[in-house]
Symmetry: C2
Subunit: 492 residues, 2 copies
């Protein structure tokens, strides 16, 4: 297999698919639209899970697990939610297979094992969870409930792409219940902020936080907050969402609580999630034509050590040094791989780790043995330095921090260069078509205008940013009054 | 809700169900046979996952993720495996719902969205994984593959019980591929040993390791190894299995590799798994009529601090001491909860933590404030001691270690008292019926004898223990020659 990738400039989409496959992150499976997440890709997901899980727990959340299946009658209880997901539901109708009498060794669905009520494979778990919360909540003393679930979900997407859009994906879904509207709103915003912090600090991806327009809102939500990132090809990617669900699910499932004065009120809800889609965002933000570039904070291996030697004696001596360096670095919680495989040449290994985006590469050769040095090179800018062995730990720590920072700054600069403020629809179309990126423009707030703009340009409102100032103007499309600019882009 | 449990002596099964519900571990859901794992139960599972995951990684395994669904044609490829699981498969037949024209707001399965090929919700993943390995393995250089997956699986069980037997459960499944039979056998035994180590060291449950008889073997395996534990009611529980799959799956999916001499051979396989069922074993090994008893190594909270005070001033002073103790203990990686809730009385809290099995309880009252002491009591034997505050860390560390050890020793002693060696079928039946526990007896090795014994006594062969000496005798049932005693018991 050739390790060369199609350059991004030639075909970004092809480059993306190749990088996923060649860096051993994931591949398509025998099941339509479902992917196999390979060990290297899964290791990145594990790092993400670890950090997010800490952040969820630090904000008072606990993990739990709810069933994979949702009985159809529960699924349809919250009408908007049901309507939004009905078209992409995998449905279990039978609970048994039996031998096919016509073909030896083959199985058929047993018609006698038809379920009385069909089960939907969860596309999201609000329905099942709120049906459960109903029995958990009687009084204000039972509130808030702050629960998160790590799980798989299924949405029968017609056009799938590895990590970005798959029929089954892994995610976490938080589901909280509150006594007041204010508390639920605060929670929804807090979790959106947690996502922003995680994506910026660990993934080194700058994001905008904002509110979704009505047509991009989660089915069943009153408000959807989101974080939006910009990919290298100028398309936006929704990296996480946090929903204020109002009392919609409490009403659908009749979940009330007694206040401290004995009044019965409906419970207020939020839900929030991020998924394996984040890995797609990670790839498309930092990687280059040579392969993956991983931010040190999430790289499964932060440092790889490659020995260069001739013969067993040299190999042994260099291995001793490498093992010592590995152990010193691991003492500082740095993740190190010593690639001591004898059947592969250094050049082959260099290519492999370049492709796989390992942040730092340490090479130790015969000269280094003599001089008590090592050569350290960085994956992001390919800078290379020979340093004293006894400076390794300090140097590596600094370089990892620097690289984490540099990736974020680079992505932020790119984003700044790719936000355009426009004031009329001609410019709007031109920018979306030729330059891409985010467009900040006035919008009259109507669904019909958003629809019309989408139809003509494929750009959608990514969010109404939290931090823009009120600033009156005229809608680029309709000319009607607008209160503030919103963020448009073509999106993944 | 009354916190009192039905005593074990009165109705063990009822006691078990009550403890699961009242200790807030899990509950039944709206989906037949599927449970909701509540935060406290899930926290135990997280501790188990954390420790097992470390052990898997330390033995060279990596995590990955394969699809939830298995296309029927792949599922049926390994005939014995398919036959074994066909009767309990949830089957997805459609991928869309639509509005019911006859009933507003209701949904029906869209008949136009019937899948060409039905998808089985994985009851286990050998089929899908070996179909994937086929493309990963060309040469001996690609071997071994050492992969584990944490996931949910579905087996449509007719009689379900929380944790012990549920339609959906959480588990890990290891799937490895090897160049030689010897290596695969070694792997299967190694992972069985890892399970034994985990269950004994962390769960404080002594286990027997052995080989399953033919009729208890995993569908599709050549040999199944297992760990078997004894519950308090004298029934055995299979706590984990590790399978040597021979070349069965390699042949079913045509997975061959080129040896270093260029010969094409079928690959050798293993698979191994433990599940949330372990939580059932944990409950039924250590808990008592007062509630759950958790081994310190797996307890989500190892220590709970309960303050006793009158008025705000005392409350504040005691809280200061409690917070300091909490922080000192946490500095030693001890998991501590300070229950500072003002709306619940100490007696209520004592009952709650007894029910929830928190290993150590620290009480700090006004006297303790004066004397700079605390009162520490242990959940297993209810021993209570007043100690100096400045001895807390050392004392707690020792007590946690002692308790972990004591639970294991107690369970081991119970098991020793409940293994009976018998030499004729009259005694066999009597012991199984009246005393219960494990019975060590000679067996002629035939499926028909095992079948007959099961029919008459409900006891099955739990395993042919690894460590028994060859020791000729006569089968208790048939009188035929037998080479060694095997372990019988009624089982969960």
């Amino acid at each position: 297999m050739t390790k060369k990738l199609t350059p991004r400039g030639k075909d970004y989409s092809k480059w993306y698919n190749e990088i996923v496959l060649k860096a051993d992150l994931a591949e398509n499976s025998a099941v339509r639209g479902c992917m196999v997440i390979k060990p290297y890709g899964y290791a990145i997901w594990e790092k993400m899970q670890e950090e997010l899980d800490k952040m969820f727990k630090a904000t008072g959340h606990k993990n739990a697990y709810f069933p994979l299946f949702v009985p159809k009658s529960l699924f349809e209880a919250e009408e908007k939610n049901a309507e939004g997901f009905a078209k992409e539901c995998a449905v279990v109708t039978h609970y048994r297979l039996k031998s096919d009498e016509k073909q030896k060794g083959k199985l058929i669905v047993d018609p006698d094992a038809k379920l009385e009520e069909e089960l939907v494979v969860r596309p999201t778990s609000e329905a099942l969870i709120w049906n459960t919360y109903k029995t958990w909540i009687q009084s204000y003393r039972d509130l808030p409930i702050l629960i998160n679930q790590w799980s798989n979900v299924v949405r029968w997407e017609m056009r799938t792409r590895l990590f970005l859009r798959t029929a089954e994906f892994l995610w976490q879904e938080g589901h909280t219940a509150h006594a007041t509207k204010e508390e639920a709103l605060k929670e929804a915003k807090l979790m959106n902020q947690v996502y922003a912090d995680f994506v910026e600090k660990f993934m080194a991806i700058p994001v905008f936080q904002g509110t979704k327009s009505e047509s991009e809102r989660f089915a069943g939500a009153v408000e959807t907050y989101c974080i939006e990132a910009l990919m290298q090809d100028g398309k936006a990617l929704q990296a996480g969402t946090s929903h204020f669900l109002g009392q919609n699910f409490a009403k659908a499932f009749d979940v009330k609580f007694a206040t401290d004065t004995g009044k019965l009120n409906y419970v207020w809800a939020t839900s929030w999630g991020v998924s394996t889609r984040l890995i797609g965002a990670l790839i498309m933000t930092h990687s280059d034509d040579n392969g993956l570039v991983l931010p040190p904070n999430l790289a499964p291996d932060q440092v790889v050590i490659v020995p260069i030697y001739k013969g067993d004696i040299q190999h042994n001596e260099i291995s001793r040094v490498a093992e010592q360096i590995k152990s010193d670095l691991e003492g500082k919680n740095i993740r190190v791989k010593f690639d001591n495989r004898d059947k592969f040449k250094p050049g082959f290994k260099f290519n492999e780790y370049k492709l796989k985006g390992v942040p730092l590469r340490i090479v130790i050769g015969p000269k280094d043995l003599e001089n008590k040095t090592i050569e350290v090179s960085r994956r992001d800018d390919f800078s290379k330095n020979v340093i004293d062995q006894n400076k390794t730990v300090e140097y590596v720590e600094n370089q990892l921090d620097d690289m984490q920072e540099a990736l974020f700054e680079k992505a932020k600069k790119f984003r700044e260069q790719n936000i355009t403020q426009v004031d009329n629809f001609v410019d709007f179309k031109k920018v979306i078509k030729e330059k891409g990126g985010f467009v900040l423009a006035h919008w009259d707030g109507s669904v019909s205008t958003e629809e019309a703009i989408k139809k003509e340009t494929k750009a959608t409102i990514r969010c109404i940013p939290f931090d823009t100032q009120k600033n009156e103007g005229k809608c680029v499309y309709s000319g009607k009054t607008s209160e503030r600019r919103v963020l448009f882009a073509k999106a993944y």
